[in-house]
Symmetry: C2
Subunit: 256 residues, 2 copies
Protein backbone atom coordinates (compact mmCIF):
# COMPACT_ATOMS: atom_id res chain seq x y z
CA UNK A 1 0.00 0.00 0.00
CA UNK A 2 1.22 3.46 -0.82
CA UNK A 3 2.28 5.78 1.94
CA UNK A 4 3.68 9.23 2.38
CA UNK A 5 6.08 10.46 5.01
CA UNK A 6 6.21 14.17 5.66
CA UNK A 7 4.78 17.23 7.30
CA UNK A 8 1.92 19.14 5.71
CA UNK A 9 3.16 22.69 5.63
CA UNK A 10 6.75 21.92 4.68
CA UNK A 11 6.42 19.20 2.09
CA UNK A 12 6.89 15.46 2.20
CA UNK A 13 10.24 13.66 2.54
CA UNK A 14 9.41 10.31 1.02
CA UNK A 15 6.70 8.16 -0.42
CA UNK A 16 6.25 4.43 -0.66
CA UNK A 17 4.91 2.88 -3.85
CA UNK A 18 3.84 -0.71 -3.42
CA UNK A 19 0.89 -1.47 -5.59
CA UNK A 20 -1.91 -0.68 -3.21
CA UNK A 21 -3.60 1.83 -5.45
CA UNK A 22 -5.38 0.87 -8.62
CA UNK A 23 -4.88 4.32 -10.15
CA UNK A 24 -1.08 4.47 -9.78
CA UNK A 25 1.07 4.34 -12.91
CA UNK A 26 4.75 3.41 -12.73
CA UNK A 27 6.90 3.98 -15.80
CA UNK A 28 10.21 3.88 -13.98
CA UNK A 29 11.34 7.47 -14.28
CA UNK A 30 7.82 8.89 -14.38
CA UNK A 31 5.19 7.96 -11.81
CA UNK A 32 1.58 9.00 -11.50
CA UNK A 33 0.91 8.70 -7.82
CA UNK A 34 -2.49 8.73 -6.15
CA UNK A 35 -3.06 10.68 -2.94
CA UNK A 36 -4.10 9.19 0.36
CA UNK A 37 -7.39 9.08 2.20
CA UNK A 38 -10.93 8.16 1.23
CA UNK A 39 -10.44 4.52 2.13
CA UNK A 40 -11.84 2.36 4.89
CA UNK A 41 -9.84 0.06 7.16
CA UNK A 42 -9.97 -2.70 4.54
CA UNK A 43 -8.44 -0.41 1.92
CA UNK A 44 -11.66 0.08 -0.04
CA UNK A 45 -12.13 3.49 -1.62
CA UNK A 46 -15.29 4.83 0.06
CA UNK A 47 -15.04 8.63 -0.07
CA UNK A 48 -13.58 11.50 -2.07
CA UNK A 49 -10.01 12.33 -1.14
CA UNK A 50 -9.41 15.77 0.27
CA UNK A 51 -6.44 18.11 -0.08
CA UNK A 52 -5.18 18.02 3.50
CA UNK A 53 -2.21 16.50 5.32
CA UNK A 54 -0.08 14.38 3.04
CA UNK A 55 -2.02 15.27 -0.08
CA UNK A 56 -1.41 18.93 0.68
CA UNK A 57 2.24 18.30 1.55
CA UNK A 58 2.93 17.01 -1.94
CA UNK A 59 1.70 20.30 -3.42
CA UNK A 60 4.27 22.09 -1.25
CA UNK A 61 6.97 19.85 -2.76
CA UNK A 62 5.77 20.93 -6.20
CA UNK A 63 5.58 24.64 -5.43
CA UNK A 64 8.82 24.89 -3.45
CA UNK A 65 10.86 22.41 -5.44
CA UNK A 66 11.53 19.91 -2.62
CA UNK A 67 12.55 16.56 -4.05
CA UNK A 68 10.95 13.47 -2.59
CA UNK A 69 12.56 10.10 -1.91
CA UNK A 70 10.88 7.15 -3.59
CA UNK A 71 10.73 3.77 -1.91
CA UNK A 72 9.29 0.93 -3.95
CA UNK A 73 7.84 -2.14 -2.28
CA UNK A 74 7.32 -5.61 -3.72
CA UNK A 75 4.55 -5.66 -6.33
CA UNK A 76 4.36 -8.56 -8.80
CA UNK A 77 2.36 -6.42 -11.24
CA UNK A 78 5.05 -3.72 -11.42
CA UNK A 79 8.22 -4.50 -13.33
CA UNK A 80 10.02 -1.62 -11.58
CA UNK A 81 9.31 -3.00 -8.11
CA UNK A 82 11.85 -5.06 -6.16
CA UNK A 83 11.28 -8.85 -6.00
CA UNK A 84 10.87 -8.67 -2.25
CA UNK A 85 10.88 -6.13 0.54
CA UNK A 86 11.49 -2.44 -0.04
CA UNK A 87 14.12 -0.56 -2.00
CA UNK A 88 15.17 3.10 -2.01
CA UNK A 89 14.89 4.22 -5.63
CA UNK A 90 16.20 7.78 -5.58
CA UNK A 91 14.89 11.32 -5.73
CA UNK A 92 11.89 12.51 -7.68
CA UNK A 93 10.36 15.89 -8.34
CA UNK A 94 6.63 16.52 -7.97
CA UNK A 95 5.94 18.22 -11.29
CA UNK A 96 2.16 18.66 -11.13
CA UNK A 97 -0.95 17.78 -9.18
CA UNK A 98 -4.60 17.57 -10.16
CA UNK A 99 -7.86 15.92 -9.19
CA UNK A 100 -9.97 13.46 -11.12
CA UNK A 101 -12.47 10.68 -10.77
CA UNK A 102 -10.54 7.53 -9.89
CA UNK A 103 -11.35 4.03 -11.10
CA UNK A 104 -13.59 3.67 -8.05
CA UNK A 105 -15.72 6.58 -9.28
CA UNK A 106 -14.69 8.72 -6.32
CA UNK A 107 -12.47 11.78 -6.44
CA UNK A 108 -8.74 11.29 -6.06
CA UNK A 109 -5.74 13.62 -6.00
CA UNK A 110 -2.98 12.67 -8.36
CA UNK A 111 0.64 13.69 -8.68
CA UNK A 112 3.13 13.37 -11.48
CA UNK A 113 6.60 12.48 -10.21
CA UNK A 114 9.72 12.66 -12.38
CA UNK A 115 13.04 11.15 -11.44
CA UNK A 116 15.91 13.53 -10.85
CA UNK A 117 19.02 12.45 -12.67
CA UNK A 118 21.13 15.57 -12.22
CA UNK A 119 23.98 14.68 -9.84
CA UNK A 120 24.19 18.24 -8.52
CA UNK A 121 20.72 17.98 -7.04
CA UNK A 122 20.38 16.64 -3.55
CA UNK A 123 17.42 16.42 -1.25
CA UNK A 124 17.03 19.40 1.01
CA UNK A 125 16.15 17.57 4.22
CA UNK A 126 18.71 17.66 7.02
CA UNK A 127 19.59 13.99 6.43
CA UNK A 128 21.49 14.69 3.24
CA UNK A 129 21.29 18.47 2.85
CA UNK A 130 24.10 20.95 2.91
CA UNK A 131 25.05 23.02 5.92
CA UNK A 132 23.05 26.27 5.87
CA UNK A 133 24.86 29.27 4.52
CA UNK A 134 27.81 27.46 2.97
CA UNK A 135 29.93 30.37 1.73
CA UNK A 136 32.04 28.37 -0.74
CA UNK A 137 29.78 25.80 -2.38
CA UNK A 138 31.58 23.58 -4.87
CA UNK A 139 28.68 21.71 -6.36
CA UNK A 140 25.84 23.42 -4.63
CA UNK A 141 23.16 21.05 -3.41
CA UNK A 142 20.04 22.47 -4.92
CA UNK A 143 16.51 21.44 -5.55
CA UNK A 144 14.72 22.15 -8.76
CA UNK A 145 11.79 24.48 -8.37
CA UNK A 146 10.53 24.73 -11.89
CA UNK A 147 11.42 23.40 -15.31
CA UNK A 148 9.75 24.88 -18.33
CA UNK A 149 9.88 22.86 -21.49
CA UNK A 150 9.33 24.23 -24.88
CA UNK A 151 8.36 22.66 -28.17
CA UNK A 152 8.26 23.90 -31.74
CA UNK A 153 4.54 24.51 -31.42
CA UNK A 154 5.23 26.52 -28.25
CA UNK A 155 7.70 28.69 -30.11
CA UNK A 156 5.20 29.32 -32.90
CA UNK A 157 2.49 30.40 -30.45
CA UNK A 158 4.86 32.72 -28.62
CA UNK A 159 5.84 34.27 -31.93
CA UNK A 160 2.17 34.64 -33.01
CA UNK A 161 1.46 36.67 -29.85
CA UNK A 162 4.78 38.54 -30.10
CA UNK A 163 5.64 37.18 -26.63
CA UNK A 164 2.68 39.01 -25.06
CA UNK A 165 0.80 37.37 -22.17
CA UNK A 166 -2.72 36.40 -23.24
CA UNK A 167 -3.96 37.06 -19.69
CA UNK A 168 -2.43 40.39 -18.67
CA UNK A 169 -0.88 41.80 -21.84
CA UNK A 170 2.59 41.89 -20.29
CA UNK A 171 5.48 41.58 -22.72
CA UNK A 172 8.72 41.19 -20.80
CA UNK A 173 11.54 43.07 -22.46
CA UNK A 174 14.84 41.44 -21.60
CA UNK A 175 16.77 44.17 -23.37
CA UNK A 176 18.00 41.60 -25.90
CA UNK A 177 14.52 40.51 -26.95
CA UNK A 178 11.12 39.67 -25.52
CA UNK A 179 10.54 36.76 -23.16
CA UNK A 180 7.37 34.73 -22.73
CA UNK A 181 6.45 31.16 -21.90
CA UNK A 182 4.13 28.75 -23.64
CA UNK A 183 1.68 26.80 -21.49
CA UNK A 184 0.12 23.55 -22.59
CA UNK A 185 -3.52 23.71 -21.49
CA UNK A 186 -3.93 19.94 -21.20
CA UNK A 187 -0.44 18.85 -20.10
CA UNK A 188 1.87 16.77 -22.24
CA UNK A 189 2.87 13.33 -21.03
CA UNK A 190 1.32 10.71 -18.83
CA UNK A 191 -1.46 10.52 -17.83
CA UNK A 192 -2.93 13.62 -19.49
CA UNK A 193 -1.36 13.06 -22.90
CA UNK A 194 -2.36 16.49 -24.14
CA UNK A 195 -1.43 17.07 -27.77
CA UNK A 196 1.41 19.36 -28.81
CA UNK A 197 -0.72 21.42 -31.21
CA UNK A 198 -1.57 25.15 -31.33
CA UNK A 199 -5.11 24.50 -30.04
CA UNK A 200 -3.61 23.28 -26.77
CA UNK A 201 -1.04 26.03 -26.18
CA UNK A 202 -1.32 29.60 -24.90
CA UNK A 203 1.28 32.33 -24.47
CA UNK A 204 1.75 33.57 -20.89
CA UNK A 205 4.12 35.68 -18.82
CA UNK A 206 6.02 33.63 -16.21
CA UNK A 207 3.75 34.85 -13.39
CA UNK A 208 0.57 33.74 -15.12
CA UNK A 209 2.21 30.51 -16.26
CA UNK A 210 2.91 29.59 -12.64
CA UNK A 211 -0.64 30.47 -11.61
CA UNK A 212 -2.19 28.55 -14.52
CA UNK A 213 -0.14 25.42 -13.86
CA UNK A 214 -0.98 25.52 -10.16
CA UNK A 215 -4.70 25.90 -10.92
CA UNK A 216 -5.10 29.35 -9.35
CA UNK A 217 -7.14 30.28 -12.41
CA UNK A 218 -8.55 28.65 -15.50
CA UNK A 219 -10.40 29.70 -18.66
CA UNK A 220 -14.08 29.28 -19.59
CA UNK A 221 -15.20 28.27 -23.09
CA UNK A 222 -15.93 31.95 -23.86
CA UNK A 223 -12.33 32.76 -22.77
CA UNK A 224 -13.41 34.60 -19.61
CA UNK A 225 -11.12 33.80 -16.69
CA UNK A 226 -12.25 31.75 -13.71
CA UNK A 227 -10.45 32.51 -10.47
CA UNK A 228 -9.14 35.81 -11.84
CA UNK A 229 -10.52 38.96 -13.42
CA UNK A 230 -10.65 39.52 -17.15
CA UNK A 231 -10.50 37.28 -20.14
CA UNK A 232 -7.96 35.56 -22.34
CA UNK A 233 -6.93 37.53 -25.41
CA UNK A 234 -7.17 35.14 -28.35
CA UNK A 235 -6.24 35.84 -31.95
CA UNK A 236 -8.93 35.05 -34.53
CA UNK A 237 -6.62 32.52 -36.20
CA UNK A 238 -5.79 30.72 -32.94
CA UNK A 239 -8.32 27.95 -32.59
CA UNK A 240 -8.14 26.98 -28.95
CA UNK A 241 -9.77 23.60 -28.34
CA UNK A 242 -12.43 24.11 -25.67
CA UNK A 243 -12.15 20.43 -24.77
CA UNK A 244 -8.66 21.13 -23.47
CA UNK A 245 -9.90 24.19 -21.56
CA UNK A 246 -12.50 21.97 -19.95
CA UNK A 247 -9.82 19.42 -19.08
CA UNK A 248 -7.83 22.12 -17.30
CA UNK A 249 -10.88 23.39 -15.42
CA UNK A 250 -11.96 19.89 -14.41
CA UNK A 251 -8.53 18.74 -13.25
CA UNK A 252 -6.50 21.78 -12.20
CA UNK A 253 -8.77 24.65 -11.20
CA UNK A 254 -8.78 24.92 -7.45
CA UNK A 255 -12.10 24.78 -5.67
CA UNK A 256 -12.59 27.92 -3.61
Amino acid sequence: MGGISGRGAVGADSIVLSGGYEDDIDEGDVIVYTGSGGRDSAGRHVADQILTRFNLALTVNEREGHPIRLIRGKDPRNRFAPPSGYRYDGLFRVTSHWHEQGKSGLMVWRYRLEQISDPTIEASSPAVGDAPGNPTPKRVPTTVQRIIRDTKVSKAIKAAYDHTCQVCGTRLDSGGGPYAEAAHIRPLGQPHNGPDIPGNVICLCPNHHVLFDLGAFSVADDYSLIGAEGRLTVRPDHGIDTGHLRYHRDHYLQKK
Copy 2:
Protein backbone atom coordinates in the same frame (compact mmCIF):
# COMPACT_ATOMS: atom_id res chain seq x y z
CA MET B 1 39.69 27.57 -32.41
CA GLY B 2 36.14 27.91 -31.17
CA GLY B 3 33.34 28.42 -33.59
CA ILE B 4 29.62 28.86 -33.60
CA SER B 5 27.16 27.71 -36.20
CA GLY B 6 23.80 29.38 -36.28
CA ARG B 7 21.58 32.25 -37.26
CA GLY B 8 21.41 35.40 -35.16
CA ALA B 9 17.72 35.89 -34.61
CA VAL B 10 16.80 32.27 -34.11
CA GLY B 11 19.62 30.93 -31.99
CA ALA B 12 22.67 28.84 -32.74
CA ASP B 13 22.64 25.15 -33.67
CA SER B 14 26.12 24.11 -32.66
CA ILE B 15 29.43 25.29 -31.31
CA VAL B 16 32.94 23.95 -31.64
CA LEU B 17 35.24 23.92 -28.62
CA SER B 18 38.84 23.32 -29.54
CA GLY B 19 41.10 25.21 -27.23
CA GLY B 20 41.48 28.41 -29.18
CA TYR B 21 40.29 30.70 -26.44
CA GLU B 22 42.28 31.33 -23.29
CA ASP B 23 39.19 32.20 -21.28
CA ASP B 24 37.22 29.01 -21.98
CA ILE B 25 36.64 26.55 -19.13
CA ASP B 26 35.71 22.92 -19.80
CA GLU B 27 34.52 20.82 -16.89
CA GLY B 28 32.88 18.14 -18.99
CA ASP B 29 29.22 18.73 -18.22
CA VAL B 30 29.64 22.45 -17.58
CA ILE B 31 31.43 24.74 -20.00
CA VAL B 32 32.18 28.44 -19.81
CA TYR B 33 32.39 29.47 -23.41
CA THR B 34 33.79 32.72 -24.73
CA GLY B 35 32.06 34.59 -27.51
CA SER B 36 33.52 35.36 -30.89
CA GLY B 37 35.00 38.47 -32.42
CA GLY B 38 37.55 41.00 -31.29
CA ARG B 39 40.44 39.06 -32.80
CA ASP B 40 42.72 39.74 -35.69
CA SER B 41 43.59 37.30 -38.47
CA ALA B 42 46.32 35.76 -36.31
CA GLY B 43 43.84 35.03 -33.53
CA ARG B 44 45.12 37.78 -31.24
CA HIS B 45 42.51 39.48 -29.11
CA VAL B 46 42.65 43.12 -30.25
CA ALA B 47 39.21 44.61 -29.53
CA ASP B 48 36.20 44.34 -27.25
CA GLN B 49 33.70 41.71 -28.36
CA ILE B 50 30.25 42.97 -29.25
CA LEU B 51 26.85 41.38 -28.83
CA THR B 52 25.98 40.79 -32.48
CA ARG B 53 25.73 37.79 -34.77
CA PHE B 54 26.82 34.57 -33.08
CA ASN B 55 27.25 36.21 -29.69
CA LEU B 56 23.69 37.45 -29.91
CA ALA B 57 22.42 34.11 -31.22
CA LEU B 58 23.57 32.36 -28.05
CA THR B 59 21.40 34.69 -25.97
CA VAL B 60 18.42 33.59 -28.05
CA ASN B 61 19.26 29.97 -27.16
CA GLU B 62 19.22 30.97 -23.51
CA ARG B 63 15.97 32.94 -23.65
CA GLU B 64 14.05 30.53 -25.85
CA GLY B 65 15.45 27.28 -24.50
CA HIS B 66 17.05 26.02 -27.71
CA PRO B 67 19.65 23.39 -26.95
CA ILE B 68 22.97 23.62 -28.72
CA ARG B 69 25.12 20.78 -30.09
CA LEU B 70 28.65 20.67 -28.75
CA ILE B 71 31.52 19.53 -30.93
CA ARG B 72 34.89 19.18 -29.24
CA GLY B 73 38.10 19.33 -31.24
CA LYS B 74 41.52 18.00 -30.32
CA ASP B 75 43.15 19.98 -27.51
CA PRO B 76 46.01 18.46 -25.54
CA ARG B 77 45.30 20.79 -22.61
CA ASN B 78 41.70 19.64 -22.25
CA ARG B 79 41.08 16.19 -20.80
CA PHE B 80 37.53 16.20 -22.22
CA ALA B 81 38.73 16.73 -25.79
CA PRO B 82 39.17 13.88 -28.27
CA PRO B 83 42.74 12.69 -28.97
CA SER B 84 42.38 13.71 -32.59
CA GLY B 85 39.88 15.30 -34.92
CA TYR B 86 36.44 16.35 -33.83
CA ARG B 87 33.73 14.59 -31.86
CA TYR B 88 30.03 15.32 -31.34
CA ASP B 89 29.53 15.51 -27.58
CA GLY B 90 25.81 15.98 -27.17
CA LEU B 91 23.32 18.70 -26.34
CA PHE B 92 23.88 21.57 -23.95
CA ARG B 93 21.69 24.34 -22.61
CA VAL B 94 22.86 27.96 -22.53
CA THR B 95 22.03 28.81 -18.94
CA SER B 96 23.40 32.35 -18.68
CA HIS B 97 25.43 34.99 -20.44
CA TRP B 98 27.43 37.95 -19.16
CA HIS B 99 30.30 40.20 -20.08
CA GLU B 100 33.65 40.64 -18.38
CA GLN B 101 37.25 41.63 -18.93
CA GLY B 102 39.00 38.64 -20.48
CA LYS B 103 42.57 37.57 -19.79
CA SER B 104 43.64 39.85 -22.62
CA GLY B 105 42.22 42.84 -20.74
CA LEU B 106 39.57 43.37 -23.40
CA MET B 107 35.85 42.82 -23.01
CA VAL B 108 34.49 39.38 -23.82
CA TRP B 109 31.04 37.82 -23.77
CA ARG B 110 30.79 34.59 -21.87
CA TYR B 111 28.21 31.82 -21.74
CA ARG B 112 27.61 29.05 -19.26
CA LEU B 113 26.64 25.80 -20.98
CA GLU B 114 25.23 22.81 -19.11
CA GLN B 115 24.91 19.36 -20.59
CA ILE B 116 21.41 18.02 -21.05
CA SER B 117 21.09 14.49 -19.74
CA ASP B 118 17.33 14.13 -19.82
CA PRO B 119 16.53 11.59 -22.56
CA THR B 120 13.17 13.22 -23.28
CA ILE B 121 14.89 16.37 -24.48
CA GLU B 122 15.87 16.61 -28.09
CA ALA B 123 17.21 19.44 -30.13
CA SER B 124 14.55 21.48 -31.86
CA SER B 125 16.22 21.84 -35.24
CA PRO B 126 14.69 19.99 -38.18
CA ALA B 127 17.58 17.52 -38.28
CA VAL B 128 16.44 15.65 -35.20
CA GLY B 129 13.26 17.44 -34.19
CA ASP B 130 9.73 16.18 -34.16
CA ALA B 131 7.22 16.74 -36.92
CA PRO B 132 5.33 19.99 -36.23
CA GLY B 133 1.98 19.58 -34.58
CA ASN B 134 2.34 15.94 -33.62
CA PRO B 135 -1.11 15.21 -32.14
CA THR B 136 -0.13 12.09 -30.18
CA PRO B 137 3.35 12.63 -28.77
CA LYS B 138 4.70 9.67 -26.81
CA ARG B 139 7.86 11.10 -25.40
CA VAL B 140 7.51 14.67 -26.51
CA PRO B 141 10.72 16.17 -27.85
CA THR B 142 11.08 19.32 -25.84
CA THR B 143 13.70 21.87 -25.06
CA VAL B 144 14.23 23.26 -21.62
CA GLN B 145 13.54 26.95 -21.38
CA ARG B 146 14.28 27.63 -17.77
CA ILE B 147 15.33 25.70 -14.69
CA ILE B 148 15.09 27.38 -11.32
CA ARG B 149 17.10 25.82 -8.56
CA ASP B 150 16.47 26.39 -4.95
CA THR B 151 18.61 26.04 -1.86
CA LYS B 152 17.89 26.12 1.84
CA VAL B 153 19.07 29.70 1.97
CA SER B 154 16.69 30.52 -0.90
CA LYS B 155 13.81 29.03 1.04
CA ALA B 156 14.69 31.08 4.13
CA ILE B 157 14.78 34.34 2.14
CA LYS B 158 11.45 33.57 0.47
CA ALA B 159 9.94 32.90 3.89
CA ALA B 160 11.42 36.12 5.35
CA TYR B 161 9.69 38.13 2.62
CA ASP B 162 6.52 36.03 2.85
CA HIS B 163 6.98 35.19 -0.85
CA THR B 164 6.61 38.87 -1.83
CA CYS B 165 8.65 40.24 -4.75
CA GLN B 166 11.25 42.73 -3.53
CA VAL B 167 10.92 44.67 -6.79
CA CYS B 168 7.17 44.99 -7.41
CA GLY B 169 5.52 43.75 -4.21
CA THR B 170 3.65 41.00 -6.05
CA ARG B 171 2.81 37.93 -3.99
CA LEU B 172 1.45 35.21 -6.26
CA ASP B 173 -1.36 33.31 -4.57
CA SER B 174 -1.54 29.81 -6.01
CA GLY B 175 -4.67 29.06 -4.01
CA GLY B 176 -2.73 26.44 -2.04
CA GLY B 177 -0.06 28.83 -0.84
CA PRO B 178 2.12 31.67 -2.07
CA TYR B 179 4.73 31.25 -4.80
CA ALA B 180 7.95 33.19 -5.23
CA GLU B 181 11.43 32.52 -6.53
CA ALA B 182 14.81 33.20 -4.99
CA ALA B 183 17.46 34.80 -7.17
CA HIS B 184 21.16 34.54 -6.46
CA ILE B 185 22.61 37.98 -7.16
CA ARG B 186 26.08 36.68 -8.02
CA PRO B 187 25.31 33.32 -9.58
CA LEU B 188 26.25 30.01 -8.02
CA GLY B 189 28.70 27.76 -9.84
CA GLN B 190 31.52 28.29 -12.29
CA PRO B 191 32.88 30.81 -13.02
CA HIS B 192 31.03 33.25 -10.76
CA ASN B 193 31.10 31.08 -7.66
CA GLY B 194 28.66 33.30 -5.82
CA PRO B 195 28.06 32.17 -2.23
CA ASP B 196 24.84 30.55 -1.12
CA ILE B 197 24.25 32.97 1.74
CA PRO B 198 21.37 35.37 2.55
CA GLY B 199 23.48 38.39 1.53
CA ASN B 200 23.54 37.03 -2.03
CA VAL B 201 19.87 36.12 -2.41
CA ILE B 202 16.73 38.18 -3.09
CA CYS B 203 13.07 37.19 -3.33
CA LEU B 204 11.41 37.90 -6.69
CA CYS B 205 8.27 37.08 -8.63
CA PRO B 206 8.93 34.90 -11.69
CA ASN B 207 8.64 37.89 -14.05
CA HIS B 208 11.28 39.93 -12.22
CA HIS B 209 13.45 36.84 -11.78
CA VAL B 210 13.59 36.38 -15.54
CA LEU B 211 14.38 40.07 -16.08
CA PHE B 212 17.06 40.11 -13.38
CA ASP B 213 18.80 36.98 -14.70
CA LEU B 214 18.75 38.35 -18.26
CA GLY B 215 20.22 41.67 -17.10
CA ALA B 216 17.23 43.83 -18.05
CA PHE B 217 17.66 45.57 -14.70
CA SER B 218 20.06 45.58 -11.78
CA VAL B 219 20.30 47.18 -8.34
CA ALA B 220 22.48 50.09 -7.13
CA ASP B 221 24.21 50.04 -3.75
CA ASP B 222 21.40 52.23 -2.35
CA TYR B 223 18.90 49.61 -3.63
CA SER B 224 17.49 51.88 -6.34
CA LEU B 225 16.84 49.98 -9.55
CA ILE B 226 18.89 50.51 -12.70
CA GLY B 227 17.06 49.80 -15.95
CA ALA B 228 13.68 49.91 -14.19
CA GLU B 229 11.71 52.29 -12.03
CA GLY B 230 11.64 52.08 -8.25
CA ARG B 231 13.82 50.44 -5.66
CA LEU B 232 14.36 47.08 -4.03
CA THR B 233 12.44 46.60 -0.80
CA VAL B 234 14.94 45.25 1.74
CA ARG B 235 14.24 44.17 5.31
CA PRO B 236 16.43 45.79 7.97
CA ASP B 237 17.72 42.35 8.98
CA HIS B 238 18.61 41.33 5.41
CA GLY B 239 22.20 42.36 4.89
CA ILE B 240 22.62 42.33 1.13
CA ASP B 241 26.28 42.35 0.15
CA THR B 242 26.84 45.33 -2.13
CA GLY B 243 29.86 43.56 -3.62
CA HIS B 244 27.48 41.03 -5.12
CA LEU B 245 25.18 43.79 -6.41
CA ARG B 246 28.20 45.34 -8.09
CA TYR B 247 29.11 41.97 -9.61
CA HIS B 248 25.63 41.72 -11.12
CA ARG B 249 25.77 45.28 -12.47
CA ASP B 250 29.25 44.79 -13.91
CA HIS B 251 28.54 41.45 -15.57
CA TYR B 252 24.82 41.21 -16.32
CA LEU B 253 23.25 44.66 -16.63
CA GLN B 254 22.66 45.39 -20.28
CA LYS B 255 24.14 48.51 -21.72
CA LYS B 256 21.40 50.70 -23.22
